[in-house]
């Protein structure tokens, strides 16, 4: 049972907040509040806590005013943007909070096609930004999450796109930010720090402050405006869902061993011919491609037939960045690398046709659009309702194979699931500078035992990884980074104590999204 109590100062605070945002944009009705008590993460589902107020500000100035009130009364503030979040980061961890929803800050302020950038408010999603920028021959790759996610929040949470091999981690595309601190002050980063200079340059004078906000899980302030870098797009002004964009070609390569696959991943990454290169887990293909859950389940039963091809399977998306003529060269390079690493190149069309034989409502042709503007990725929730990336190491790519073994061995002791309900994928990042490895667990939202088991497992594999692999689990990813998961790792405690000083500097009253990263 969740608690829906009101504090003594409630009427006074309510009335002050109402004066800021207007009567229509504040509520303390239980039905409005309860919605914000949990998300799909095990963290929030185990301890649902509704806020005391929900407010919908429409400007930076209103947000400043709200922060002043929250400081005056020492009320925690939790910010929710598009709310596409499975980490418990945007739900209260204390009672009596103000839930600030950014839905009304939803404008694309400017698309600067000359300087290849866009200035947006937080509630603008990737899909929205893409449809408008593609009209001018520019784009920003969509994350490997639903394209309904807000660009600003995904970047601040260190989200990633399928196109990381070409464009790096998404937050590298941040140029300038306007940021309201927990004390209600405004910080502008990059060239926007100087009035009338424009939002064209990343680094302002002095330290790079935007690095502090990214990865802070909403604990150091609220970004109300962001300028992001855009990239050339010659694939037409509209994404055609049934066709791959004309500037893109997809190839699949199957390998007989993990060693060969990882070698190919390295070579493909550094060749700089592809916008995405990924070892796709079999479970994702099976969940993502069929339209119906029934077909997914039927296909899952047939997975043994697919394993010889899909166990060590790499998808490569070649893109003509400035001209479609680049595709021919890219394809030659991919085929050469496949030959050298003894991989079998499979034409995507042939593979799609073969897959369609296995299940009546596969949508292989549409799955291609997923890499540009993600839509069906939430299908991974369909099997059991819950999805937790339990382990998210970023590591030098040569360690990926060892991580794979660690995951498989650790999963043998996982108490609840059949062995097959997990997936793992490897995505080279930044032209092969490092790789992202991901282990996902699918769990039953309705089972507290499974929720607990997921958290326990996540903690266990983090510790094992650090002791056995010497990898870097505490990367800037937010999900495995959750304090409940990593609290027993000594290095984390040290890191936390050091970063506490930053929290205290920015948020002396500790009111900004408390308990998500910085914890007393």
């Amino acid at each position: 049972m969740v608690e829906l109590s009101k504090s003594d100062s409630h009427p006074e605070v309510y009335s002050k907040l109402e004066r800021i945002v207007g009567k229509e944009y504040i509520s303390d009705d239980p039905s409005i509040l309860i919605v914000h008590s949990r998300d799909q993460s095990p963290f929030a589902n185990l301890k649902p806590i509704p806020p005391e107020y929900v407010v919908l500000p429409e400007s930076t100035e209103q947000i400043q005013e709200i922060m002043k009130i929250s400081n005056e009364y020492k009320i925690p503030v939790v910010v929710q943007n598009t709310g596409v979040n499975a980490s418990g980061a945007c739900v209260p961890s204390e009672t009596g909070s103000i839930l600030m929803h950014l839905r009304r800050l939803n404008q694309i302020i400017e698309i600067d096609d000359l300087n290849m950038s866009a200035t947006i408010q937080p509630y603008v999603s990737y899909a929205e930004l893409q449809v408008e920028t593609m009209k001018t021959g520019l784009w920003l790759p969509s994350p490997a999450a639903p394209s309904t996610v807000g660009v600003v929040s995904n970047m601040l949470f260190c989200g990633m796109s399928w196109c990381m091999v070409k464009y790096g981690y998404e937050r590298r595309s941040i140029i300038c930010m306007t940021w309201v601190t927990p004390k209600g002050e405004i910080i502008k980063t990059g060239s926007s720090a100087i009035e009338n200079l424009g939002n064209f340059w990343w680094n302002g004078p002095g330290p790079d402050l935007k690095g502090i906000l990214t990865g802070a899980i909403g604990e150091l302030g609220i970004c109300t405006e962001m300028t992001v870098k855009l990239y050339p797009w010659v694939g037409g002004s509209r994404l055609k869902p049934d066709e791959v964009a004309e500037n893109t070609k997809m190839l699949a390569i199957s390998f007989s061993s993990g060693e060969r696959m990882f070698k190919a991943l390295q070579e493909l990454s550094r060749a700089d011919i592809a916008i995405f290169v990924a070892n796709m887990p079999i479970v994702w293909s099976i969940m993502g491609m069929p339209k119906s859950l029934k077909s997914s389940k039927e296909l899952w039963e047939k997975r043994k037939q697919l394993e010889p091809i899909l166990k060590y399977f790499v998808l490569v998306g070649i893109q003509g960045i400035t001209s479609i003529k680049q595709l021919d060269y890219g394809e030659k390079v991919v085929k050469q690398i496949a030959k050298e690493t003894r991989g079998m190149v499979i034409d995507f069309e042939i593979m799609s046709g073969a897959a369609a034989q296995l299940s009546p409502d596969l949508q292989p042709e549409k799955s291609r659009a997923e890499f540009f503007r993600a839509k069906v990725s939430p299908r991974i929730m369909r099997f059991k309702g819950g999805f937790m990336p339990a382990f998210f190491p970023q590591e030098p790519i040569e360690k990926a194979l060892k991580s794979e073994e660690l995951m498989e061995n650790t999963l043998k002791d996982f108490p609840i699931h059949p062995q097959d309900l997990y997936s793992s994928c490897v995505v080279p990042v930044d032209m092969g500078h490092f790789g992202l490895h991901e282990l996902d667990i699918f769990y039953d939202q309705n089972s507290p035992e499974e929720l607990e088991a997921c958290l326990e497992f996540a903690g266990k594999i983090q510790k094992l990884s650090q002791s056995q692999q010497d990898t870097w689990p505490p990367h800037s990813e937010w999900r495995s980074y959750h304090w409940d998961v990593v609290k027993d790792i000594p290095e984390f405690a040290i890191l936390k104590s050091k970063t506490e000083k930053i929290k205290n500097l920015f948020d002396p009253n500790r009111i900004m999204n408390p308990g998500k990263w910085f914890k007393e």
């Binding site: 829906l4 914000h36 949990r38 799909q40 929710q80 979040n85 929803h101 929205e128 639903p146 503007r373």
Partner: protein, 390 residues
Amino acid sequence: MTVDLNEYYKIIRNCSKCAMCRNMSPWDMQSKEFKDICPSGTRFLFEAYFAPGKMEITRALLDNEIQYTDRLEHIIFACPLCGGCQAQCEEVNIINPLDVMQDLRKKYVKAKGPIPAHAKFAKSIKELHNPYNEPHENRLDWLPKNITINEDAKIAYFVGCTSSYRREEIAKATVNVLNSLGLEFNILHPNEWCCGSPLFMTGQIDAGIKLMNHNLEAIKEKGIETLVFSCAGCYKTFKETYPQYVGDLNCKVYHFTEFLVEYFRKKEIKLKAFPKSITYHDPCHLGRHSKVYEAPREVLKQIPGIKLIEMERIKENAWCCGAGAGVSSAYKDFAYWTASQRLKEAESTGAEILTTSCPFCITNFVEASKISNVSFEIIPLIKILEEAIK
């Protein structure tokens, strides 16, 4: 269809809050301006008004975490049940939010009774068999004298309350078209009662079932084998809702556009040119609820001279007119706001005419256009066909 919320509890909890249900499909999206798909959430902004919020509210009600309040009543009923959320969710996570919302209304009515505006039309339906408080004996006043009705015909035209009392031009055009094509048809009056759509859609299920039983009995008595509808709401109620309670109706059910497409396939009809640019609005009850998207477009393609210019949000992605599921009776401003958003989109196509195949949508568009100042005409599809057949 409806679901039993208690049985559905586990599925409700599996809503991943991916937010796909807030917007049209990202793969089909063409502009930021016309990307929304949920009138309720887009207008009232709080997350509780979007489908994931309503799923959470349903769960909380089932877990006795919250009680009914005025705000909760508004959240439950200020929604046209257009099914835009469900169309998106069907592609992704299969939570069926529309079905859940319909059952949530049933649960509300069981606990608190219908909301006042809905109780008002329910009373009218009970006493006069229509929601407009009009005398039942006037139901056929629109019927032109030159129209031939064949009492022995196995085909019946189910007129519906809106075409009978508010959009008589649609009823007249429908019978004119049927007569012009030489098709013999019957009418159920005086035993045509409201189909029950307003009741089923507002959680007043028992009253809706009484109407269903009456109408099905009337069809049986007259030996009707084929029913043709000019109203998307009545059509959906017969095609989708009734069978949930009685199974097979033993009667073929056609929206007039489907009926005519089938007819045109069998017989070649020479139609007069109608040289206009037209944009077509998919009514939710015909489109998303009944999956009829192509038939109206096929009918328009049959008419020479018509240039069909599609809006950005069409078919599964169509933006609702805003009137359905008791919204126009209880929350008129919201209904007009929703319609005005669609009128804006229609205006952006540059078409000379906005057409659709539902009298309820037409009514709401016409009313909203009085506030919105649009530059195009709003003409029912059957009226365009009537012109072309003359």
